[in-house]
Symmetry: C2
Subunit: 347 residues, 2 copies
């Protein structure tokens, strides 16, 4: 006594018409081909039977799955959940489902992901952590899979993306530190194969000059990854030069956390000995010790906009790719203060 889920044939026979007529009625694009009252009648019957289109069958025929993939390197990085949530909600509201693909920690190559996408007739892709030259991106373009980058972008400029205004962010952070009275500011950036790592680094150099700050290469380094250990290692590296500095501008909250670790290991206090700024304002950095001064990025909104952009591109793959840039906002907390009178920060 299995309750058979109503299919298009059931609806058709109940309405005394051919399945194709039902199909046309239920598809907004072809609904006008069927006469008004018959269409109404069919809709009624479909409702009555609780008919839902079978996406597998439909997808098989039309090469569409109403499914998009969202690729992230590591869900446990607190930056991503808000983005994913924004994406998922928006897609859901438009009848799409999101399948999650964790690229980073899994062995399967990017090629494997793309293969899976194609096999599953994925309609589009949201990529949350592209590198500046990313294979997935090329693959997608070659295969004609609609693609939107979020959070990071790539060097080539013909791909849609929703990103943060990194230049504004670095400028805000630097200005904040300068206003507090800092002059010797170290910089810990991110991997140079990411757009954020690259742009933030370049902007730090440029803006330092603009503000007339001394630029000491020994106080500037780029971490190998956006992780706490990498941040810790980076600060250890800088400290080895025994140069004076009173603040560190980091390109990422996790790097800032790593700085906390290194400072702790050296018996230094933040912010008394050294001020630290982060980037991203990931959840709970306000609860850290000390609460992190950082740049707030509207992560949810990033996700929402990326989803909207993707929906648009899936409708209309031909329109030129647009890049959307959202403005960050400085959030001042306990990790920054004016430099101490007695300046030697290295012990």
């Amino acid at each position: 006594m299995v309750k058979h889920r109503a299919n298009i044939k059931d609806v058709a026979s109940r309405a005394g018409v051919h399945p194709s007529t039902v199909s046309r009625v239920l598809n907004p694009a072809t609904r006008s081909m069927v006469s008004e009252d018959l269409a109404a009648e069919i809709t009624r019957i479909a409702d009555e039977l609780g008919y839902r289109r079978n996406p597998l069958a439909s997808g098989l025929r039309t090469q569409k799955s109403y499914t998009v993939a969202i690729v992230i390197p590591d869900l446990t990085n607190p930056v991503f959940p808000p983005i994913v949530r924004g994406v998922e909600h928006t897609l859901d509201a438009h009848g799409y489902n999101a399948i999650l693909a964790d690229s980073g920690s899994k062995q399967r190559s990017e090629k494997g992901i793309i293969e899976n996408m194609k096999a599953r007739q994925i309609d589009g892709l949201i990529l949350a952590a592209a590198r500046r030259k990313d294979l997935i991106v090329n693959d997608c373009i070659e295969e004609g899979i609609p693609l939107v980058l979020v959070n990071r972008t790539v060097d080539t400029h013909n791909v849609a993306a929703v990103i943060n205004d990194d230049e504004l962010g670095i400028e805000l952070a630097l200005k904040h530190l300068i206003e507090l009275g800092h002059r010797c500011i170290a910089y810990i950036g991110g991997p140079q194969n990411t757009s954020t790592g690259y742009t933030r680094y370049q902007t730090f150099l440029k803006t330092s000059k603009k503000f007339g700050l001394p630029v000491d290469r020994d106080l500037i380094t780029n971490a190998k990854a956006y992780t706490e250990p990498a941040g810790e290692a980076a600060l250890e590296h800088i400290m080895r030069f025994e140069k004076k500095f009173t603040a560190i501008l980091t390109a990422n909250d996790l790097l800032a956390l790593g700085c906390y670790d290194a400072m702790h290991a050296h018996g230094l206090n933040c912010p008394v000995d050294i001020s630290v700024t982060g980037f991203n304002d990931m959840p709970y950095v306000d609860r850290f010790n000390p609460p992190l001064t950082t740049l707030h990025i509207p992560l949810d909104e990033l996700g929402v906009q990326a989803a909207l952009l993707l929906l648009e591109r899936m409708q209309n793959p031909e329109v030129p790719a647009t890049q959307l840039r959202l403005a960050p906002r400085m959030v001042i907390r306990g990790s920054t203060t004016s430099p101490a009178e007695t300046p030697p920060p290295n012990k």
Copy 2:
């Protein structure tokens, strides 16, 4: 010049056999029906052409989609990402994809989620935040959709679940506080319509008695939700009775965080004035101020086991549902210490 993705017919004609033969070879269960060398030859050709089975077509025929849904209430709650990641990796390794359904914050009813599942031929469901009497659970059982609960379970005992050993957890926490010398211990629990909220509460009462502690109802309350504001409100509530207590045992890290807030508002120091324990050991609680003493739950492992259990149940829906219970581990950090000599904790 569209590069046509190789399908089963291409492989068949290249091998000079019928598509059905190819299908049999490529399906482990039927592979033995085909002679050894022909099978080998076909496999070779399939590889050569880069053939991948089309899951839509396959699913249409077999009523399987190789897709499971994972339903969580809020991805930004740090407890869930590790679970989701564990699930996703495990499923992926077995050829399944995970679609994400955020149940909590979205308007769509649970009924709507189930509808979507059925329409999409979802093979199974992992539910990360069931309430003790949950509609989705009943729906799934009625519809015969394989289901595994993770993190929380339901009152009826015939449903598969992977959960934490809450009784052990509460006992460990209580023992820890007692060993530090605490005798007057407040309890802030979770919503009673969740299995964790209910079990932890009951266990706290039972274990207090067992250890010969005085049980003062004024020091015991259950928060309305597992959130910081709810935790803060709960502690405010308890403080209104102006009873003496030197420690708070909470049923959740976020509740513990809420306690930090309330204590801060009252000028109380943790752990000097009051010790606090959490539950879950969510990411980054070790960075809080003070670092939270809490119960570590292997969240990743919870996800992995849930996925494995689901895979098993999808293979074999008839086997009786098993409940897997993972042991938590006490992680002692900075939020607990021995009670002060001068005990008045309320100011």
